[in-house]
Amino acid sequence: MKIVIINYGAGNIQSIKFAIQRLGYEAVLSSDKEEILAADKVIFPGVGEAGSAMGKLKDSGLHLLIPQLKQPVLGICLGMQLMCKATEEGNTSGLGIFEVNAVKFSNKVKVPQIGWNQIAKFDSVLFNGVSENEYIYMVHSFYVPICKDTIAVTNYDLDYSAALQKNNFYGTQFHPEKSSLVGERILRNFLEVV
């Protein structure tokens, strides 16, 4: 299986590579269009600020490539938010895969949310073997509201999307690569079941 992690200069991608390695697979970090197109599975990471991340995607033309991919694609954290129509962070337009916008948490809660939280209401094979209310690791200031593409729900300030899916596109707000055994199961599902 050929796994490509899209390398566009956004954040902590070694951790994803290592997490995949712990599952017994090798992933390649790449920004090469041919290599991404030829992959069986594509991971679209993202840590940092949305505006600058989207700028980097546009500089490399990857913003046009990603929405056209036909193989399973998993966006993680900011990666998932950039797959939406737009995000309030830096008033940035996204890739428009999910018909929803990322918005900021209210000031009723501490922002960013940093730490472990629970996920539930699964509606995808991505969560095969994961129990309702298991804990996963989250670090973010913006969230995606519940929408028709929501496949898992979490709560902080309010109920919102912990994960999204539309056709071959998947997204998790949480970091499976940092979410202990539960995260490993979800990553394994993306590699082996999806």
């Binding site: 501490k110 730490g115 970091h175």
Partner: protein
Amino acid sequence: MDIKNGRTVKGINFVDLRDAGDPVELAEIYAQTGADELVFLDISATEEGRRTMADMVLRVAEKVNIPFTVGGGISSVEDVDILLHNGADKVSINSSAVKNPQLINDLVAKFGSQCIVVAIDAKQIDGQWVVHLVGGKVPTKLNLFDWAKEVEQRGAGEILFTSMDHDGTKDGFANEALAKLSTELNIPIIASGGAGKIQHFTDTFLKGKADAALAASVFHFKEIEIKDLKEELKRNNIPVRI
């Protein structure tokens, strides 16, 4: 974990470790036994020690499936770039932020709030909480609460507050100061310094309103098992991953 030249240096008493000084092996054990997050503090303070730390970060990222923070001697955007690139989830800065507060803004602009922790060491002098540097040895002119607010305004994602009055006492966390920080600020506060028994953790969440608690020696010397601690927290209705 305190790290010197890539090795854990003190307060480690795990009989079942193959190599008592190997931070990677210790980190794996903590990840398996239920720690939610790990913090590595580099106390090498030499160029060579720093390079070793960057290598250690890469080896930890390879083996460990929970988040970790790296601190100690970080003073530039370049320092942070290497650590995050090697797989650290967050970095923590302390003295360098006091000496050059603009560094917080620069790091946040480049890497985002979520990975920038500012560590603050403070102790009470004549009833005032005074920020200290160099592990609590050197007092500054800064008041804890004023500095914490400035740190938040400059964009830091979290504050790691260590009370030098409580650190090492095993007599509980500085819950009064913690509660004030937690109430006045809108970013997560990590409590550090003073953990001696399980009740202290319950107290720091309920009375200190801490968002997270950090401890070293009680875990290193197995005075508290993480599993027992978490079960007790859960009994007190504190949300915790078990």
